[in-house]
């Protein structure tokens, strides 16, 4: 920074014109060349395996089918009320996400406190962080596949999967909130003679609620999108029906599932953004 200022001062002293200063502007061309070279090398390396082999025999008809399905969805399926219709399946998907998020948020609290460096000594906290990282790296679909072996297929499996998966991200964000705790408030409460319980009630909880709730709502958003794919492996929700229709090439049904899914996700995303920005403003 100081170097930059010096340069500008020098330029002003030398009474350079604007055009001359522009010609002398800092150039990081070697950084950009390096970045471009690295990216080019990586693309070259990976391009060797990924090859375009043309459409499959039925490729064209599939593409046409998908487009016709999206433009002509099956309206009876879309607004029906039976167990296999879109509204019920969407509600079930949402139910999975609600339970998964709430259980995950509760389970994440102990993890987050145990992994915060201002609560536990560093080595112990880092140990818990590795566990959290382990949970986070395993894709949710793999969790679902493993849980199905334990619980059998169904919506309950989806709930367990999401509860476990959510721990990873939620506790990661809780940790940041806990480590940002303002400890001076605790000190002043201490000075006032508060009991430990009062210190937690009036010093810790008010500082954490807003960010905890915000994180949970954000995760609900993600879980809802995730819940739509969990059905593919048989863990309940709309995904199973969607994939069945895709594989049996019933395009009108595919269309109505996709539309239902898009509308639900858009609505939830909008609501969650609204609530979270309200929370951030402290209302």
């Amino acid at each position: 920074m100081a170097e930059k200022l010096e340069k500008i001062e020098k330029a002003v002293d030398e009474k350079l014109t604007v055009a001359e200063m522009y010609a002398n502007r800092p150039r990081k061309w070697w950084v950009y060349t390096l970045v471009v070279l690295i990216i080019a090398a990586l693309v070259g390396w990976s391009g060797s395996t990924v090859q375009f082999e043309g459409l499959t025999v039925t490729g064209r008809s599939v593409a046409q089918g998908v487009i016709s399905g999206i433009t002509h969805p099956d309206l009876k399926l879309m607004f029906g009320t039976s167990n296999t219709d879109v509204p019920y399946l969407l509600l079930q998907t949402m139910a999975i996400a609600v339970l998964g998020t709430i259980f995950g948020a509760i389970l994440a609290i102990p993890f987050a406190f145990l992994a915060s460096t201002n609560i536990l000594p560093k080595p112990l906290a880092y140990l818990f962080r590795v566990v959290i990282l382990l949970i986070r790296t395993i894709p949710s679909l793999v969790w679902a596949l493993m849980w199905i072996r334990v619980t059998g297929p169904g919506a309950a499996c989806g709930v367990i999967t999401q509860s476990v998966c959510s721990i990873g991200m939620i506790s990661k964000m809780y940790i940041t909130a806990i480590e940002d705790l303002d400890t001076r408030i605790l000190e002043s409460l201490d000075a006032m003679g508060c009991t430990p319980f009062q210190k937690i009630r009036y010093g810790v909880i008010p500082q954490l609620t807003a960010s905890f709730i915000s994180t949970t709502i954000y995760r609900f958003d993600i879980n809802l999108k995730d819940a739509t794919t969990l059905g593919i492996v048989g863990a309940g929700g709309i995904g199973a029906s969607l994939v069945q229709c895709l594989n049996s090439r019933r395009w009108a049904m595919v269309g109505s599932f996709v539309w239902g899914l898009m509308i639900l996700v858009l609505i939830i995303e909008y609501l969650s953004t609204q609530v979270r920005s309200k929370l951030a403003r402290g209302e």
């Binding site: 990924v50 990282l133 790296t137 894709p139 793999v142 169904g154 899914l261 858009l266 995303e269």
Partner: protein, 283 residues
């Protein structure tokens, strides 16, 4: 009487149903305290939980009854079969290649679209809202469903996976990027225009240097996500590690699965650390 106090505290429809408490201060003025919304929210959440429990048929007993089965699985998972490592490397490299190529393609496409959909650069409201709506729709589609459709059209293999990742990356990076572009400082742009530079020159020298680091940072972040996401794409036949994972679970070879997940964990953590380091440098 309450005109003054009412204007100080904003009343919403909630306060019209549950009348706020009026407190008379010692000096004769009165102020109001809004009724807490907490009981109302707690009741809503409880209702959601009860409805969701009924819908998903989830019960805690299931986990307790199957606990030994779960422990059996976990124990096997944590005793990875080291000899299986040789068979993991190839699909793992495929997965990484898929994510690199997908990320690069998606990010390259996202840059112009993001510039066109940020309100401070593109003054045309119609284009901005249409582009944003399309991006929002793309983001609602689950990656796995995109991958499945791609696999049906272009045949099984890495190409379908790469395409799915590009579409997913495109939606996310474009959104993150236009949000960041809207926060850049437009002062230099206006100054350069005032000095007589044309729109493109001003954009190139005043905006691009501000956008570029953010763009690279978002791309790296997305690459991180893509490595994790592409690991499961193989489940629907889109190449990579997913095929191996699915196969291992199908054969109940949890020791082999443990090895696959361990390798994935190491790679993901390594990529995350590198990317976090690079992103720290960029900002």
């Amino acid at each position: 009487m309450d005109n003054e106090t009412n204007s100080a505290v904003k009343l919403t429809w909630f306060d019209k149903i549950f009348k706020p408490q009026v407190i008379t201060l010692p000096n004769g003025h009165s102020t109001i305290r809004r009724r807490s919304r907490a009981p109302f929210i707690v009741a809503l959440v409880l209702l959601a939980i009860i409805l969701s429990l009924r819908m998903t048929g989830f019960d805690m007993g299931l986990i307790i009854r199957k606990f030994d089965k779960l422990m059996d699985l976990m124990v096997k998972l944590f005793h990875p079969k080291w000899s299986f490592f040789d068979k993991v490397t190839r699909p793992l490299i495929d997965t990484i290649k898929m994510s690199i190529l997908g990320t690069v393609i998606g990010c390259a496409l996202a840059l112009p679209i993001a510039v066109l959909s940020s309100t401070n650069i593109d003054k045309n409201r119609v284009i901005v809202s249409v582009l944003r709506f399309i991006l929002a729709l793309i983001r609602t589609l689950p990656t796995l469903v995109i991958a499945l459709v791609c696999a049906l059209i272009f045949g099984l293999g890495t190409f379908a996976g790469t395409l799915a990742i590009s579409i997913f990356t495109f939606g996310i990076v474009a959104k993150m990027l236009y949000e960041s572009i809207e926060t850049i400082d437009m002062g230099p742009f206006e100054a350069m225009e005032a000095m007589g530079a044309n729109k493109f020159q001003a954009f190139w020298s005043a905006c691009v240097p501000q956008i570029l680091p953010v763009y690279l940072s978002h791309s790296l972040y997305c690459f991180e996500m893509n490595v994790r996401a592409s690991a499961i794409l193989g489940y629907v036949g889109a190449g990579g590690l997913g095929i191996t994972i699915n196969e291992r679970i199908g054969w109940r070879d949890y020791e082999g699965l443990g090895m696959v997940l361990l390798t994935l964990f190491v790679v993901v953590v390594a990529i995350e650390f590198t990317s976090e380091y690079l992103r720290g440098k960029l900002s």
